[in-house]
Subunit: 495 residues, 2 copies
């Protein structure tokens, strides 16, 4: 992996000076084509050994590019707001929009490599491999969403690094560059090399490759990075739009046993009488109120997802939840059309940005599951894209639960007849008419397709730590109490 | 101020039950009209004494409204990311967009009132009045930008508050509501009353009034708040679009002494020879590098504003600055057309959201001054709106400098002839052609109007702590060195 980068590559001044003007002009052209078309986001990751000129190279590169469309992220220690969210939150937060180049010093590679280099014991390789696995999935998602991901690893051989650190320390103008960490790294050179090599090998993919740069010569590394970036930009800008692959299975389930499904097996007759409802509501709301005021609650965040048939009573149920909780710690996020900033990012971005801090609850009224429900049924995205979404959503939710968040997901199910009754009723009551639209009637015509999508969704995204709860919602009382009880029990599990 | 709210208002159950359905329906209608038209943002501030039912009332209100278009902000202790920005940053961050209702528990009133209630000594009233003054200016800006600002103060008389706290403590289901703070407040009831009364009196304005609610009776306070909100929403939604007032002075300065201006007095012949430039550049870049690596630098943020004639060399100058600094701590923010999220907020919002943390530098390539430059000259906003912007911008920058930020603003000035020469030159060099557009030629035709705007801008927004530096930029070497030196000296002043 590092052999080529220990050959002692150099570029002489004459060659460098001759190449830079044309290179710079071509880079700017490519950057402007990228910007004008808002074609895709570019992620440029910078990693490697200390003293290999990462900062200087990026500085040179940004001075050649138009710095207004480059965002350099130096992700060091996470802030408290970042610590209160899943680990990848800070990276999502820093993702460049379409048309921009985001440079990441310090990325999702930094801590895994550092930890594995410093750790001892048998489990460290296993832990590293877990991290690698997450990274590969994350980067694949980025690529599938159209991002151009380029990763540069700045390498120095052991002897060259030793010399370089000595030089830097001699000069008062560069002394600051040698941090304590640099020397610490150096002491662990061999281990660090072993860990990084494994990481690079396992995370270098066709769509998100690692490019190893020899860092000893300023002119060489600058030309190397700039030429690789230029080539990648041009290649991608010129690439023909390829058709999305056809997924191995399509949405419609074959009929095998008369279509017994998760939905058909629901007992929609479940009911609760008013007195029992009032009592149960009070009980679970009271419990929720107490739980969310518990000191231990402050260490967790709660994410509640509401999906369901139109008119299944999501709104009323959500209000029964929010009513029980101090209004200051809960936020309802309605999912409507994305804003233009949201459209310029991967589809999960707008959900990541809404994730609650610890001690806070976010209720999503519709959610990221739109991708495998309405977008699937209405054909708003290609089958390949909603097929891959199941895995991406699972990763997203694992990030949350891995951080200690409580994730609760409800499907509010009503029968087709009950829906019709409610649509008609809503058209009669003035303060409910806003709830019924043309779209609702249109969706109703696709009842079966939606049912298939729901069953797939539950089958493929329900997990022990982020389970789906199917709620029989023909009777609103039953539904509300079931939701509240489920939520309370889920919070009790962690608090 | 509080007399009416100590009369013992109550509403009986029958009246309440009779009024709620129609009220709720009307509220939803108004809310949907608001949402559909994305008409304006609504800010609903909630303050008052402990135990007066603020939380319960907001809960009731949000359960009547569609909670998907209401954002309740419980602003308690600021996070570290908030502490590293000017005080109002967290409030800007929480501002609702057009079409939404933002409820603020804990607002810009909380700390000023709390501090004045707990503080001793002579200066506390003076300090309070300073805060009040800021608040009035902030809220005026919000109103001018179209926001509907409603402020509810929940009041209880001393004897009623005492009784209420006792009741709450008795019931295990409500005991959690009585925080330590509540009892502390109570001990300071008289002082708190005095401070709040003064604050309310001075901050109650035609466009952002305080409405004092008696908090003793649940039904009364719920109806009171809901009816006031409804009335305000309807009034504003039905209000005819009024013409903007005519400001006292218009942009064009009368000629008194042959148009001697800040710009005409600049000596654009200032020059630096290449050898002197190279030496000076190295010196100031080195100094900047050292300064920004100083430990004390981490306690400050730096905001650099670049404005200037088209082709004045902003880009090249910015690169000389960013080159000297570790790429991880600097961000260049180009100001182009606002996104739709930005358009849904007051015009300063998109700059607030970019303010750097401590230890970071943000370089604005064009800035909030667009309002008093291009928007003024091109007539993109009414004279009244850019006239008021000077004051709003001064407040904005005072917020920054008050927080310890270094604010440096550069106007890069070139002569009309020099601009023409550069336009023509740019059309020749391939990697610079992207820099010259139709718009540049159009702007050039309005040279005098822009010059007037620049002189006004400097005269009205240059302050001791956020001064403008006029940079003679016909000679790029001179300009770059002057910018770097000014920036270094400004940072040295605080580090």
């Amino acid at each position: 992996m590092f052999e080529d980068a220990e050959l002692g590559h150099t570029v002489d001044k004459a060659t460098y000076d001759a190449r830079v003007p044309a290179l710079r002009s071509a880079l700017l052209d490519a950057q402007f084509a990228l910007k004008d078309a808002r074609a895709f986001p570019v992620l440029l990751l910078v990693g490697g050994v200390e003293g290999a000129g990462r900062g200087e190279t990026v500085n040179a590169l940004t001075s050649w590019l138009d710095p207004r469309h480059v965002e350099v992220n130096g992700l060091g220690e996470p802030s408290d707001e970042e610590l209160e969210r899943p680990r990848y939150w800070r990276f999502w937060r820093a993702l460049p929009p379409k048309g921009k180049i985001g440079v990441f010093f310090g990325s999702w590679y930094t801590y895994p490599i550092l930890q594995a280099s410093l750790a001892k014991g048998r489990t460290r390789w296993a832990k590293l491999d877990n991290r690698i696995d997450e990274i590969v999935r994350f980067e694949r998602m980025l690529s599938e969403e159209g991002a151009l991901v380029l990763k540069f690893w700045f390498h120095l051989s052991k002897s060259v690094q030793k010399r370089r650190i000595k030089e830097l320390k001699k000069d008062p103008l560069t002394r600051w560059r040698v941090t304590g960490t640099a020397e610490e790294y150096f002491a662990k050179y061999d281990r660090f090399r072993e860990v990084s090599e494994r990481t690079l090998r396992h995370t270098s993919t066709a769509l998100a490759p690692w490019l190893v740069v020899e860092g000893g010569d300023r002119r060489y590394r600058e030309l190397f990075v700039a030429e690789e970036l230029l080539r990648a930009l041009k290649t991608r800008l010129d690439a023909p739009k390829t058709a999305r692959p056809t997924p191995a299975r399509t949405g419609d389930a074959p009929e095998v046993d008369g279509r017994r499904t998760l939905l058909s097996e629901l007992d929609l007759k479940k009911k609760l009488a008013k007195p029992a409802y009032t009592k149960a509501l009070e009980r679970w709301q009271g419990q929720l109120a107490l739980l969310t005021r518990d000191k231990r609650f402050r260490d967790h965040s709660v994410v509640v997802v509401f999906e369901g048939n139109d008119a299944a009573g999501k709104g009323g149920t959500i209000r029964r939840v929010t009513r029980a909780v101090d209004a200051r710690i809960v936020r309802v996020v309605p999912i409507a059309a994305p804003t233009d900033e949201e459209k310029a990012h991967p589809y999960l971005w707008r959900f990541w940005r809404q994730l609650p801090r610890c001690g806070q609850i976010t209720v999503f009224d519709r959610s990221w599951y739109g991708r495998v429900l309405v977008e699937r049924v209405e054909g708003f995205c290609a089958p390949y894209d909603w097929e891959r979404a199941y895995g991406e959503i699972n990763d997203f939710e694992e990030e949350m639960t891995g951080h200690g968040a409580v994730v609760v997901k409800f499907w509010l199910a009503i029968s087709k007849d009950e829906q019709l009754r409610r649509f008609k009723e809503r058209e009669q009551i003035s303060f409910k008419t806003f709830k019924i639209t043309e779209e609702d009637w249109r969706n109703r015509k696709k009842w079966d397709a939606y049912s298939d999508a729901v069953c797939d969704m539950v089958a493929r995204t329900s997990s022990a730590r982020a389970p789906w709860t199917m709620v029989e919602a023909n009777d609103k009382y039953h539904a509300r109490v079931k939701v509240l009880r489920t939520l309370v029990e889920a919070i009790e599990n962690v608090v």
